[in-house]
Every structure is written in C-alpha cells, then in structure tokens.
Symmetry: D3
Subunit: 321 residues, 6 copies
C-alpha cells in the first residue's frame, strides 16, 4: 500500500503536501526480517503502473524477494495517515477500494513451490478482510504451508472498516486460525474474529486453544494511551501453559506508531527462528515494537544490535559517537 | 479531483513527496470566472471526508459558490501528474475509480432552481465519460438551461482512458452537443464524439453545425509541441461564417500546462458575458490560456488586467515594481 | 493578518524559510463557527494587493462570508511567530505598523444593514488597540448590535505592545465593555482595561458586573506553563451568580498555541447559540481550546464531533481507522 | 532589506511558504566586492530586532564590515518577489513603509571618519527615494567623500513607486549626481532624475556631462526581454569621449534577475580599483551581471575566476570536475 | 557513491540543504539494465555503516543483485554536485579520499565464480583511477571474463582530478583496454588514456584498433554545450569498418545530466544483448542518454517503451493520459 | 566541520535530504561569545573550496573574526547526525578522515601575535585527538597564551573514536592540561585523559589539582538521560576549595543537544570575563547550556537577556509579544 501523510501536525484538510511511504502489515514484517539478515519473500499482487513499481522497489531495497509477486490491473491500495498529537487522535482514511490486491487471482500462486524452502509463513487479518479472492489466496498459502510443515503465524488484527465484500471476520477467520501455529491478537480481536468473550488475556488464550488446538502460542502487545504523544507499551506471550510478560516502556515523543505491531511480530518470528528462549524472544519483540515508534514510515529501520541494546537498557538517551 | 504531483522533474516511481492541488475541468473554469469578478457556482458531488472538504474549501477560497454541492460516500477522484521536461512527456495516471462523483444522483439536483438566475451553463466532456449517472446529470442540467434560455457551452475534450462504464463517447455526446450553443473542441474530439472526419477545422465546424444546428460558435486551441518544455500555442473561433484566429505564443519554460484549456474556456465565457467583440474575446481567452502555463496548479491565478496586458504585449518579461 | 513562522524549532534570526498562515483574533472565531456549520461573516479592511486577496481567500475557504470587507491602501498587518520549545519561550514580533486595517474608515460600514439578520457580534481587544479609526468602527458595530438586540461578546485580551496611537486601554475599553453581554478576560485584562484590581476571578467578575451592569457572563481560560512544551489548561465561566469550572487538560507536545483563546471563544458562542447548558458549553469551549494546540496555524481545524469526543474522553490517543 | 519569495513559479496569493533572502542595492555591491577580496563596509540603519540581526549577519557572512551600522526602532524594509516565467512577468510588492532605514539619523554618521581609509564610495538612487533623512545621509556621505578625494559612484536606478515623502527624483537627484564621478543609469533614469530627454545613450551621456561636469564615466546595462525566461543582456560604457560596448549574452533559464544591476556595478568598481583597462572592466562587469541571473538571492555568489572564465568563453555549459 | 546536491540553482556555499542520491558509473549502467528486465549484478566494496547500507539498498531497489558486494572500513565516496544554469557551469566537488571502495581487496572476489553465468562485464575508467587495488580488481575481472568468453565493455571516461595514487591513466589503461571488446570514449579520452592524438573520431578509432586488436566496437556521445541549460547531443558507433551516427537532440531544460553517459552505455549493452541491429542499438542508446537529462539523480528511470517512443518521435511534448 | 542531519526523526539510511549546519567545539564557543558582544576569533585551517568558504562565512555571520584562518588542501571534516527520539539514541557518524584541519601546519601560526590583545584562550580535547599537527598547534597556542598571561580554558571532552593517529589521550592531554587554568570535564574524561579514577567529582577535582597545580577551576555538566526526548541537566563548579552546584532543568522536547557543552563553556567564559561571581557565572552557563537544547544547529542562538531570564525563571513557557 501507499501511505500519504501530511507533514508533522498538519491535518488532512489543510495540507499542501503528502509524504509518501510504502508498507502493509505482512510486508512490514518481511522487511524487518530481511534487514535482520533472514531470507524473506513477499507474495502479493500489485498494479502494473509506476506506483506498483515503487511499492516493489521499496520491498527490494530492504532485500525482500518479490519474485512471485503478480502484477496487473487495478490501483495501488492507499491510505491517508494524519498523525495526531496530544489530545488529537491519529487518523487513517482508507482508500483501498478497487486495489490490484483485492483482485488477486489465487490460481496464479503455486504455494507448494513458493514455500518449498520456507521455514515460516506469516499472514495478517488484513488480507482476508479485503476480498474473497484475497481470503482464498491466504487460505491456499496456509494449507500448503501446513502440508510442508512450515510454521504459520497469523496476526489477526481486526479492522472494522475493512470487511466490505459480504463476509464477516467470523465467517472467514476461524478457518484460517484453525491451521495457524502462532496467533498474535488481543481481546477485541478474539471477540470479533472467533466470538470469544473474555475479560482476561489468559482466559481468552485458553478458550482459543480449546477451540483451535493447532494454535500453540498466542502473543499480544498492550498500549496505554494517555494521549497521541504519551503512551505506554508492553506485551505478553502465552505458551499454552503460562503467561510471560515484558516490561513497560514509556513513550513521550512518538514519531510514527504505524507498523509497531508488525515490528513486534517480526521480533517474535526472528527470536523463534533463532531459537532464543521465549522470554528472550518476547523481550526482543517488545523492544523492536517500542523502537518502531521512533522511526518514520511503516517499516522498522533498526538493527538487531539496537534492539538488543534497548533490551539491556544500554545507550538509552545517549548521543552515540 | 485531487491531483498529486512529484516535485519538479521527479518521476512518479522515485518521489517521496507529492504536491497537492485540487481541480477539475468545469471547476477550473468556475474559479477563473469567480476571480475575474463573476458570480459562479460549481455543482458536483464530493465525498463526505476531509479530502472532500478540502476540495470544497479550494472552490470557496476562490469565491465559487458550492451551495448545491452534494456530499456522500465514495472516494475523491484522484490523478497523479508527472511533469515532463525536454523529450520526456508529461504523464497523468488516473485514479478515479469509485469516486463520489461517479455515484452522483441526478435526482438530488433541481436544475431549474439552481439555474434560476444563471446566464451561462458550462459542461465538459469529462463528466459524461465518468458514469451513466454523471452523463444523466449533465443532460438534466443542459435541458433545464435550454428551457430557461441560459447559454450553454461544452468543452468536448475527449479522453480515451475514461469512458469505462459501457458507453462510448459517440453513444452519449451527440445528445449533449445537440443542445449546446458554444462548443470547444478540435478535430480528434469531433471524430471521437460525433464521427466527423475532417482534415481542416473550418470544414469540421461546418459539418458540426450542419449536424447540430443549435451550435452557434466553435472554438479551439492549437498546440505545437517541440518538447515538454518548448511549445507554441494559438487558437481559432468559428462564428458560423468565418474563422477568427489568435496570434501564436511561444512557451519555453512551462510551469504547468494542466488547466490551460479550461483557462481558454473561461476567457471565452468572460468575453462573451462582457459582450466584447469576438476577436477581443478570442485574444483574451488565448492570452489567459497562455498565462496558465506559468501558474502551478490546475487553476489560472491571473487577473483580468494581467491577461489584457499580455494581449497588448506590455510588461512581458519585465520585473514589475 | 499574515503570520510568518520559521520551520519547527528554528529561531527568527536563523531561518531561510517562513511558513505562511493567515489569521486574526475575530477571524479565527469566525472560521471555527463557519466550519461548525453556522453562517458567519468577517468585517474588516484589507490591502488591495495579492496578500490581501490571500487573506480573503483564507476566510472564504472556510465558508466565512467576506461580502462587506473593504479593500484599499496600506499593507497587510504581519507578525513573525517563533515557536518555543522546552525552556525557550515562544515569541511574537509584531509588524503591524501602517496596516490597511489601521486605516479602516468607519463611514464605509453600515452596521445596521450588516447586522440585519445577525444573532451575535464578536469583537476583540486587539481591534480598538490598533488605531482610533479601528476603535471607532468597533464602537459603531457594538452600538448597532445593541440597537438591534444582537448578543455581543468581547474578548478583551490586552496586549501592551499594541495601543500606540495615543490612547490607553483604560481610555477606550470601558465604553466598549459597557455595552457587551459576554466578556472573555482574566485578572490582568481587567486591571489593564478597566482598572479592576482583584486577586480572585470571582471577585473580579463581581466588580466588573457592578461597574458594567450590561455584562451578563464572564469567561476565561487558565494556563499553567511548565515550559513551552508542557502546559496545563483549564477554564471558568461566571454567570453572574456562580462559577462553573472545566477540567484541566495536560499538554506535552504543543504544535501551535496561537488561536487557542479564539477557539475557546468560538466554543462559547457555538454552545450559547445552540442553547446548550452553561456547563456543556464551557466543557465544549475548553475542549475546543485544548485541541487547537494540536493544529498548526491560527485557526482551529477540528469538527464538532471531535471536540465532543474529547469532552467525553473517548478516542484520546487512539489511531482511528 | 528582507526579501520574501514564493517557491519557484508560485504566485504570491497561492504560496504557503516564503524563501528568505537579504539584500539591497548598495549592500549587494558591497557583498560582491568583499567576496572578490576587497575590504568593504556597508553603512546603514537596521531595526533592533532579530530580523535586523539577520540582515547584519548576512553582510558579515560575506565579509562586509558593519561596524558603523546604526540600529534602532522601526521595521526591516521588506519586499515580496514573485518570479515570473514565460509570458508572466516577475513582480515586486514593496513593503518598506516605516522601515528603520527610512528613519536613519544623519547626525549618527561621521563620514569623514568612516571614509578615512576608503578609496571608493557607492550610493544608489534607492536611498534618496526612501526619506528626506536617507537623502540627507546620502548627501553627507557624498560630500565627505568628495572632500577626501574618494571616488564616488552612483547607480541612479529610478523606481516610481518609491519617492513617497513629498519630493521627486528631480528635486533631489541632481544635487547628488553633481558630485558623482561614475554614474550608472539609462535613458529613463536620466529623464526621470535630471530631465534629460534623449533617444540615444551617447547623446544622453553628452547631455549629462554637460550638465554635471564632475561625472567622468557613465555606464549602463541593456536588457532585451523576450519573456521572463528568455532575455538578452549587454552593456555600454561612456568614458567621456567614446562608447565601449560589451557582447550580448542570451539567457534562457533565468534563476534570479534581482541584483543583476548591482553585480554589474560591483564589476565596474572592481575593475576600476584593480586598474584594468576600460574594456576589460566593462567585459568583467557584464559577465558578472550575466552570471548573477543564475544565482538565487540578491547577491552574486560567483568568484573572480568564474567571471573571467565567462569573459574568455571557457567552461560554458560544462560539467566541471 | 553518495551525491549531495543543493536544491535547484543554489550554489554549494549558500545551501542549507542537500538532496541525496546514490550512484556511480558502473552502478548506473547496472540499474538501467535491471529496470529494463535483465539480470544484473554490481560488484564493489561499501563501508559497513548506514550510508553503505543506503547505497546497497539503492541498488537493490532497482533489482540489481548485490550478493558479492564486500563491506568493511572506510567512508562512502561522496561528491557534491552543483547544477549550473545558463552561463554558469555545473560543478562537481569530489570528496572520495579514503573511500571503502579505494580499499577494495582484490583477493575477496572470485571472478570466475561471480561471472560463471554472465554474458557481459562492464567496467569504467573511474575504477582504475581510484587506487592500485581498484585497478587490480578491475583487471582481475577483465581477465576472468576473457577466460570465460564474457563480452567486455569499458567506458574509458578520463577524469583528471582522480588518478591520485601515483600512476597515470597511460600507465594503467592500455592493459585494461587491450582485453576489452567494446570501448566507449572520445578523442580526449583516447589521448589521455592511450596517447592517441587524432582530430577525427574515425581516425582515432582506426588507431585504437590498430593498437588494441581485441577492440571490436567503439562508441561515443557528442555534446554541444551552448549553456548549462541548452545543449545538443548526438552519438556515433564505429564497428571496425564504418561509422554509424545518431540524430541530434536539442535539450533546453536539463534536469540532471549526470549519468547520461552511463545511460548511453546501458542502451548499447541492452541493444547488443537483445541482438538488435547496430543502428537500432545506437538509436536506442542515444535516446536513453537523451531522456536521462530529464530525470533527477544518477540513474535513468525510463522504460524501454519510453526510449523507443523517443526513437520513433511519438509522444514528444505530449501530456499522456 | 560540516554537519549533515536527516529531517526530524528520519534515520540516516532512509533520508533523501540532509540539513546542513556548520560547527565545531571551539567554534561554537566563539560564536556564543561573539553574539554576546565579545571580540572573538577562531583560528583553524579550512579547505580551499566552497565548503570551506561556507564554514568561514558561518563564523563571520556571527561576528567571529577569521583573520588568521589558514586555507589549503584536504576536505572539510564532516559528521552525520541522526537525532534520536524516545528510546532510540541519537547517533553521530564521523567522517573526518583527511580533513584540512588534520593537516594544519603549526608553523603557519604566530601565536604571540595572534594572542597579542587576547584575554582568554579556549581549546577542546577534540583538537589534539585529530592529528599530531593539531595537537602541536594546540600546544603552541597554550604556551604562547601562558607566556602572555592569557587565561586558558580547556574542555577535555574525550571521544574514543577520534585519537586515530597513533597516540592516546593519556600520551597527549596531560601536557596540555598542565598549563590550563580552567578545565571542563567529568569523571570519564579525567580517567581517559589523565588516568584519574574517582567515584566522586570533588575527589576527582582534588586529584586533578594535585597533579596539575596550574588548574584553578574545574567545571562540568551532568545529564540524566531518561530517553532521547526526556533528560535532566545540571552542572557543578569546583573552585579549588568548594563545590558550587546549579539547579536541575528538565527537558522534555529536545530540539538539538549538540553544542550544549560548548554553550556551557561559553557561559563560563562570559561570566568570568564579565567578572560575575562564581555562582552567577555557573547559573548563567547552565541556563545557556539548557537553552541550547531548544536551538537547531551546533551554535547557541540565544541572547544574554534570554539566558538571564531563564536563570530568574521569568517568561518560561510564555508566548512573548
């Protein structure tokens, strides 16, 4: 997707200029992993025009392979992002109707070939919300991964304003979650996607696992929002038996919160593939998520060693030279 | 419409920033006339979001009334404009699918009331190209104007990439042109809209009038394009009997050619309503069109006296102080 | 007025670029009310040049009528605004000498006609501080409003660096306040404008009403300034009998505090014309004032529903999508 | 003075941003000479505020001494510059009323001390046009220079929109020109300043010298303006007996023509002080003037060797590396 | 290399901002070929810091493989580019001393493995000018290519200000040219690199081939520089027997001429690998070179079809929509 | 030095634009003192190119004399500054290798002549870290100052990444400190420069004075870094007998912390030369240091009265008008 945002503080209706960024939930995860040194690939469909080319170039610049990307008619999905400050909320104006991605053709992807050497497949709840074709493609990928023994993670982030093609999240998501190993989501996601009503994350996790035994791990970030500028962030990880929690980071000068959840997911996948312990993985993922708030754009331009330094609490606030 | 263009010289696929302008063929004509002191109104449909508000604010800032504008669902029609230079062509990437305007509802407009005090109605060939609803609305307006004795002008600029809703220009345009007093168009427009094949403007005008006796005046601009930076521009006016022509202006450093045709139309209408002679009107319209090339954005921010100074050839190239 | 401010953080003496905004105390109030859907008009005098046109276009873009604006010689009043941060104060460098507004001609305005359909007239203490002609014009408007039964509000904000034409605030303001229904002001304003010395707002209000029985309502905002970046804001409303107070909002990342007082006044007028209760009106006005700090420029680009959401405490700090 | 100009091509009424430059006729000459290695000083009066400081810093940054500059009340003279392009003229909107310079106090300058070690004094026709005090100060300087045997040059550039203080150029200029050695001016300047009507530069020079025998040299630049983008420039030098002329340079992509005349004057003074021949001096001055058109801002940031390369015709159009 | 250039027209000494581009002679060729759909790889050495990463990301974004790039100590070679206009020349200030590339270690590259599947190797005369290590690495690559039967092209562009490590072009270049199939260069290059003095390209080509029989093809571009803004460009191709020439394109509004030679080389290689005829290849290369002047940055962001349209003369100066 | 920094929040590897500032430790001190009205001079060596000229112009613009500056070959020392925010640290990427300054020639400076009328000489620990020649030049200056009775201050700020020429700080610094009157430094500086290990500033000061009896005063700032955005700052002054301390300022929105130490040093020198009491001097220096955090660039653009207002606690957080 292309993201258009006014310069700092300006409102959409007053701006005479947009900053351009490219991103998307799964793409952001792929970029983090690629820049941390893993071989990653993004599989999607883009329009056959200059904006589609720019989106592909964005992925490539970070070392993400785009060899199976399909191109064709339709527009590049767009969103307008207005950064809030203090009591004024941040705001996304979606402009995704008619995107090339919505018209993705499942038959164009041979997932068993695509995933032949893969260790991990990641999908997000945005994809099945876009169109039936996107949901079908997502399901095809999941089934192929399952067949090949590839670990599957799904970030089930629920967005009410998507899901416009006649199906609801509850119609579609259970099938996808049923074959997913690692779920990222919180209470409202669980409620909207699979109808689990719980007042407590542990309880919700237990219910989810009862309903979907394939799910082994459930993780989530927490955000306490004092204002658009001041927030606290933390995270938990349910491993099927117990709940691990991360520390709480205080943010007072947020540059860009979009993609923070994707940065967290990337951290989880990186730690898991590196075979770190769960706590080390969670701490890394949460620190990556925290640092994302300081980086403009959808993707998290921070190195493994920068994330680890934050976990260790070194260099914070320093002028490194 | 919202227009997004990269900073000077940059290509769409490389830019990190878009300049935002608002415009549209009929809207640009209205803005010129309003800033020259005439009461004008723009009637259209905009999305009920911040970008729709910004488009309305743009019109209002120039003194164009928006009191009958309808607002509702859909997106703001958008186009990406890449300014060419030297041998590289300028390029428009349309992104209009699903616009609020395409979903305009003809029944929302009581044209006899809207046009009650009007002297002139202007429509462009873009409108009927967008959707059946837009074509119907355009036709409703024309019929009401006719009934009320309001002069009607139509700029039949033909755009191949529009006309996606199942009808062709030849299906729709003849009905609209049949009730129009002043037509702005050239040979390829005539061919594509009404099937007139002529190698000469005078001949084409004669054929058009034979076919559509209501048409009294036909005008057009001519552009000789040496490169994206160097062009010559002129214009003609067929009054039913003879052909008036304007001088030829040489442009060597074009800032923004979009809207030049609309500036010409505004000049024609202004001169006609001011009851200038035909030649004075044509000279004014052509000079307005020429000056538009020096103004960034879709609208022609020049005063009547600046246009008249160019007609007289005074002040050209001066540093006025 | 035109406001010129360096990019964020830069000092006046180092900048190579100014951001341009248009505003002014009464104009800002009118813009807020117009964008909230009320018919408003701004009556003033602007220079007959491009900058005057731009100021008028600014008002029109927000839907404020400018039909009685006078234009003529003189310059556009200007101020340079340097945004402070942390311990560095924000700074205004006035450059208003010789403005077209200072040369306003009272005889050019037929206030009974202008106010014929009006429900409310608002003036600020800036106007009578500029010149005798401006003070006279202000008084003419107030008398006409009184005669027509139009409610009158006056924001008596006292600025020591204005009042250069030979009169003091104490010479001029009492006459204006004497015929005003709603006064906005604080202890230092009261002292400088009408000589009331009080250590407590309630006491000051009582004294003011004793001296000016026509005044029915007195309201004010309070600001606790920890630094240029961190401030707390609240407000009170004296209704002649008791003191209503608003909550205290904490600001930690102020984008632009200019116009916050005008946003408060607009909220008061909006609530009053909507016939909300006093507390609802005060809460709305204070929330509008608070949100203004997050919007660049002099005017408060926020909707009624955004203000109401802040009053209710919903959505704060969220990323709305 | 401070100059505020919209980004390239934009019109004053549409811009949201101004580029800031500092300059002024005599100041520009001083900057050129300082950067070419001569000791120079600018004597003037600036406001005691941040903008005055910035103007002084501008001069100092180029190595121009400001040790006798006076500071005090008043504003910094300002002008708005809109760059034209093609058929649209460039435009200056003066905003100089009430400047600190207009209130210069002749008694604050001890010209015999200031000029003690000077070889050259330069004044321009802008100065005596601003106020009686400025004219008096100019005359004081000229008389002191004459007494000390310092060479005096005067660029009598006539600006109709200045001269607002009750005197005309013809009232004031003859006295100043009468004691000037080197006059820079053209036919309209001569007519407006001293009433000489001539159709030919040589004839005008002869008349001027007859009237003002102290004048030894008269020089001028010629500009043929095809459009704002395309111009030709040349120059002449009358040495009392014969007319030297320079070649004609063609400009097709003018970046900034303001200060071109000052660049020419600086070249004349530099060549004269370096004791080059008249033709070498004229060629150098004209090449400096020509290059100024390619440099943004009021001052001519080019080196002696760059000017000399243009005179020799080397390196033109090259990419030097 | 990183290129830092001031905004349009500004001089290096006045700018407060640099635009950042990445490029380099061989890299620019690789980017053109990659975006035209060929598999390309760039082999070099970059610093192990954020700027080195950015340079690599630039290559990747265009689809150029960087898998054999070496990273290590040293800085990123930098150059400052000042765009000239009219009579003011463009200027490069090299800042390459101590670059990571200069410290390239020939032993780190196994060229037979790198070139295993290659069809073409391209080198430029910049590389051997930087350091002995760079010259050695270049020679290693050439020998391996020769051994593997890979076609070799060399752009022998001579830069006097490089060659600082104790050897001259004449010491080093002959050995490299001796094993090169396709040479790009002109008269001064031949003179400086191999001591051929000729007044005519055909004659020079004949001499070069006599001296270096392996050279089969020699091509070159010609530039007539009227000013920095107005230039004419053409090209020739010597195939060992006869001289093919291209048409002459006139440029009047050059956006960025850096990389035009590389765009020409890319066109030659593309046409050769596509097995077009020599004239078709030359016409394509020259049109690519011409279009490069309209694209900001070092690389030529134009498609094959845009280049071909220019060869055919269609669309020039149009507004494509 | 030239400093290149991405726009707010951006990371080095993502930026397409650098803001340019000029600065350097001793230069920043000189600029503060010059703008506060003292005669100051900066003695150094700059490259003979446009960037060297720009650095000199920067100093001159603030009124710092550059009359003894040497110019010659080499590049302008550069550093890339990435501003951190929240948990992300700020980062300096040095690019100083091969600077003109490193090649300074001690024999080019006649320090007794340069310091003839001086009252104070200031050096920083950066200088001797650059090269043997720089260290020698620094020592020459110190000895001359000592001989002439000029007070000497040294800011011994230790930077591990400098000191690349074969000597360590401990080899070089003791000789310089031995002849310095006023030392600015903290515990890690003392340890790295002279091998003093102490856990307490007072203890360290006592040890330093025992080792270097010429040192009369030792001062230092303290910084508590909660994040890149939130910090506390304070300072101490050891006068040989007792420790004076300043208050603690809280920063929550840091614009630019580079040069804060230099601002402190400038305050110390200014207070000392003005013969303020130690506490008044320390309070002034600390307030100057605090205000520097709010000013973009390396230099502290604040006036004496602004610093004094902060010491008094007046105007903080106000909008001054």
């Amino acid at each position: 997707m292309m993201r258009l945002s006014p310069p700092p503080f300006q409102r959409l209706q007053q701006t005479h200029q947009f900053d351009v960024h490219y991103g998307g939930s799964e793409a952001n995860v792929a970029v983090s992993l690629a820049q941390w040194g893993l071989d990653t690939e993004h599989v999607s469909r883009f329009p056959e025009n200059e904006l589609g080319q720019a989106a592909i170039a964005h992925l490539r610049s970070h070392g993400v392979s785009t060899q199976h990307v399909d191109v064709g008619d339709g527009r590049l999905g767009t969103y307008f992002l207005e950064h809030g400050t203090d009591q004024r909320s941040s705001k996304v104006l979606y402009d995704r109707a008619g995107s090339a991605f919505a018209h993705i053709d499942p038959s164009r992807f041979d997932w068993e070939e695509i995933l032949a050497d893969a260790k991990w497949l990641h999908w997000s709840g945005i994809t099945p919300a876009i169109s039936q074709a996107a949901a079908d493609t997502c399901y095809d990928a999941i089934r192929a991964a399952r067949k090949l023994g590839v670990t599957i993670s799904g970030d089930i982030n629920y967005r009410r304003n998507l899901w416009q093609y006649g199906k609801t999240a509850r119609d579609v998501m259970p099938t996808l979650i049923a074959e997913t190993d690692v779920v990222i989501g919180g209470l409202t996601d669980f409620e909207n996607c699979v109808g689990i009503a719980a007042s407590d994350f542990t309880d919700a996790c237990r219910q989810l696992q009862r309903q979907f035994p394939a799910v082994k791990t459930i993780a989530n970030t927490y955000r306490e929002e004092l204002s658009s500028s001041q927030q606290k962030i933390s995270a938990s990880w349910w491993d099927g038996k117990s709940l691990l929690t991360g520390r709480t980071y205080t943010l007072t000068s947020i540059a860009d919160r979009v993609g923070a959840g994707d940065a967290f997911v990337a951290g989880l996948i990186y730690g898991s593939l590196t075979e770190w312990t769960k706590q080390v993985t969670l701490d890394f993922a949460l620190a990556a998520c925290t640092l994302k708030h300081s980086v403009p754009g959808d993707v998290n331009r921070v190195s493994v060693s920068e994330v680890q330094a934050l976990v260790k609490g070194v260099n914070i606030g320093k002028l490194l030279r």
